[in-house]
Subunit: 217 residues, 2 copies
């Protein structure tokens, strides 16, 4: 996978050990938002792996076409979540930049307040997109657990666990930003998205884990 963005080395192009070092450091980015996107991508990759270890096997001929579609979806989700690792850093930095704008005159205060609000909305939308994509992964992990190669079926369970943790982490990040957003229309939209995601997520991980646990018993 190649995600190019000019000359700057993106997080995804760094070594795993360096990513961990930067995460642990006293810089707020990358933070929990990028971790959510990365862990969602790990979940998507695990679904692709189960798919790739199912396709081409005589025993699983009957589900070959299903898995071609599953892999096509999981690889798309993996790519999108990989981009969102970086996007989360960008919107946080944009927010910090607006926060540091001058606020001496009344005019400056007004412009700054508007820009801060705009950047907060963008900063809430990124984790919301992460959460929706993780929801898709949780749903994909069910079909993967039902039909995938039994030898690696636990990995479908791990995919569901990762997607849920990533989804809930992303939701924490939506809520933090929501708290500071003043526009009532945007607040209502974000709140109803949160409700929708929580409703669709409910019980999904448990469903996948039940399927997996029955197969590995």
């Amino acid at each position: 996978m190649l995600i190019n963005k000019g000359d700057k080395l993106m997080l995804i192009d760094k070594k795993v050990s360096n990513f961990l070092d930067e995460l642990a450091s006293n810089s707020p980015t990358p933070g929990g938002g990028s971790v959510a996107a990365l862990v969602g991508a790990l979940g998507a990759a695990l679904i692709s792996m189960v798919g790739n270890l199912t396709i081409g096997k005589k025993k699983y001929e009957g589900v070959e076409e299903d898995f071609k579609e599953i892999i096509s979806s999981s690889e798309k989700l993996r790519y999108e979540l990989s981009r969102l690792i970086e996007e989360d850093v960008k919107v946080f930095n944009d927010f910090m930049a607006t926060y540091k704008m001058p606020k001496e005159t009344e005019d400056e205060k007004k412009v700054r307040a508007e820009k801060v609000q705009e950047s907060l909305i963008e900063a809430a939308k990124v984790p919301l997109r992460v959460a929706y994509k993780c929801l898709d992964i949780m749903i994909l992990s069910q079909e993967t657990a039902e039909k995938g190669n039994i030898n690696v079926i636990s990995d479908a369970g791990v995919a569901a666990l990762m997607a849920e943790a990533a989804l809930e982490s992303a939701m924490l990040n939506v809520k933090i930003n929501l708290k500071m957003i003043k526009d009532e229309k945007v607040r209502t939209e974000l709140s109803s998205s949160i409700k929708e995601i929580l409703l669709k997520e409910k019980g999904q991980k448990e469903k996948v884990l039940r399927i997996v646990e029955q197969k590995i018993r």
Copy 2:
């Protein structure tokens, strides 16, 4: 962080994007076991980050010593989990090697069966170690949520979410191997470790998230 192991490039020394590519591929390693260790390490790193953004701030003088200890623990856990990413691949490969041993003669069958059993036990012990370390992270994330810099408190919640998902993923990997282990003494030991971890884990993530949600409300 530098983890050297001869000439071979370790997973942690690869680019994040390459790690994801290898995970998604039709090779069973790295798989869910390595993902569990990595995600545990991400959780540990987030605790270090909250600590590093708390230490040195006038407002948090009172908890400075606490956080020095927390960071010392979280960095140790991060290092150990980083090693376990690789260790999980190693024990899986060792298991596959014993599985492919010759089984033509009775002698060969006997030796192979013994070696398979030995490698299965090792393959169960690695995710068990991952699970114990993630339990430690879940406990550390509570103190971090209680005392850490409010501006990054959601990251203590993300740390708890990551540690729980990693712990449960590791447990799936212990269970798969346990299923095939024949030694009754080892089976009993592993089962009682699983019970101990589940007991200590129960409610811990929820406790941390309640603290975080109250602070970001």
